[in-house]
């Protein structure tokens, strides 16, 4: 594993045929898809968390929403990938034709969209728990001062739950980084540095899934495994930080 060295991470070409391995395209692909997915998902997961935690914590409507959001997390990722490949990709292709970029259909943007849907439940359910932990006397004090509902949320609930919401976002980021199947199916699998967010690319997880069984040389194999190692370390660190924040928050 070490024979490739740390320089491997910045190598810009990935060409197994001539035995050149550089992980940069995949690092970039992973970061791009994950952060794009995060940006898309934050408003939604925030809305769900606030709605369930603050506006409507009881009743059948919020029960329905809560269960649906949890079921989103339960659907196997291969089904998201399949659906994305056959339904979402043609839609994106039309969109790309309209805005005048090369109509690949598959690519970083499509992968991010699917990822965004998949990671919403994690941030949302954590955010809901955190918002419920806000002591009601703080909120009541703000109402008593004549604050409107939005002002209470904006100026009392949000500052109080800031670190908890951040932890939820971290955890869903960890999820997005490691997600394999759905991304593999829609990202397009090219080992070049993506030129725009609509271009096909590859993430660390998807390149492992695609090429692991084809790796016939030890160097090729260890290149893939080193990718796995990087992926492992990154997700573990992110998750531990997230869990620590939650722990500190709930103990206070």
């Amino acid at each position: 594993m070490k024979e490739l060295g740390i320089k491997y991470l910045w190598g810009r070409t990935w060409d197994p045929v001539s035995n050149v391995y550089g992980a940069f395209p995949f690092l970039l692909g992973t970061l791009l898809t994950s952060f794009l997915a995060l940006i898309i998902s934050i408003p939604f997961s925030f809305a769900v968390a606030v709605y369930l935690g603050e506006y409507n914590p009881k009743g059948w409507l919020s029960n329905f929403l809560k269960n649906t959001v949890e079921l989103i997390a339960a659907v196997p990722s291969v089904i998201y990938g399949f659906w994305g490949l056959l339904v979402l990709v043609p839609l994106i292709r039309e969109l790309e034709l309209k805005i005048g970029v090369l109509p690949y259909g598959i690519g970083i943007f499509t992968a991010s969209l699917i990822l965004a849907v998949m990671i919403i439940p994690y941030a949302a359910s954590l955010g809901r728990e955190m918002i419920r932990l806000v002591p009601s006397h703080l909120k009541e004090a703000a109402y008593a001062l004549g604050a409107t509902r939005w002002e209470v949320i904006r100026n009392v609930v949000l500052p109080y739950t800031k670190s908890g919401l951040f932890a939820g976002i971290l955890l869903s980021l960890g999820r997005a980084l490691g997600e394999t199947m759905a991304v593999t199916m829609v990202i397009g699998n090219t080992s070049e540095i993506p030129s725009s967010i609509f271009a096909p690319g590859n993430t660390m997880a998807s390149v492992i899934a695609n090429e692991f069984t084809e790796a016939d040389r030890t160097v090729y194999l260890s290149a893939l495994i080193e990718l796995g190692l990087v992926l492992f370390l990154v997700t573990v660190v992110i998750n531990i930080i997230g869990k620590r924040i939650i722990q500190r928050f709930t103990n206070e």
């Binding site: 809305a47 769900v48 606030v50 506006y55 949890e70 196997p76 069984t213 531990i240």
Partner: protein, 281 residues
Amino acid sequence: MSAHVKYRVGKSKLAQGIIVFLAFVITLPLIFIILYIFEKGITKINWDFITKIPKPVGEAGGGIVNALVGSILIVLAASVIAIPIGIMGGIYLSENRTSRLSYWSRLSVDVLQAVPSIVVGIVVYFWVVKPVGAFSAISGSVALAIMMLPILIRSTEETLKLIPFSLKEAGLALGLPYHRVILKVIVPCGVSGILSGIMLSIARIAGETAPLLFTAFGNPFLNTNLKRPMQSLPLMIFNYATSPYDEWHEMAWGAALILLFTVLFLNITTKLITRRWNVQL
């Protein structure tokens, strides 16, 4: 009301509207996916579909019995490996809350939960597939068992933590040895929680594809030998969906429908159990 107050109330209403709107928009993808898969898949499902093995491309008919049987066997074997370890680990963690070992094992459960499924696949490839020298269903089960463990341990631990201390003390006061207290008092009290943990973890792994890619590997024929490569539903959906053939896409829709409904069924039943018996997970 002054204009300023009106402005503030209006802003509050607007924010509420946006939040409610966004919150419900995200249920749409799930509903679309379920409806679409139902519509596409339901026409494919008939007796042949669940009792025949796939035909070569170009021939009509054929089924997915190899994937069905494979999925069931792999998940069963994974459960056999993971359930005892998971439950015992959970009991240990709830009984020894502050020991050094439990701190480290709790940390490793957290880490294990965070590991991307594809990395689990790589690890098992080197633990099982490499030494044996061939892809096998049992290596897939090992990979899935590793993925089940954190969920099992967590749910067992959380349920058993809720059991009142007085129950345990009553047992001990009657002179029961410690292991009898655990077996006869603590485990029966927490059985519904443990059960729902098991179901949740099965639901979680039933749809896992990534760790099976280079362990169970897939197999176009019916196989019940755990030492040989085996097909499974998610693996089949992946292979068929990324293939260029329309017939295979059609079959993948059918398989996706079966998989989706199994997983959703498991999840909803678990939810009903936990609500009925008031278990907190």
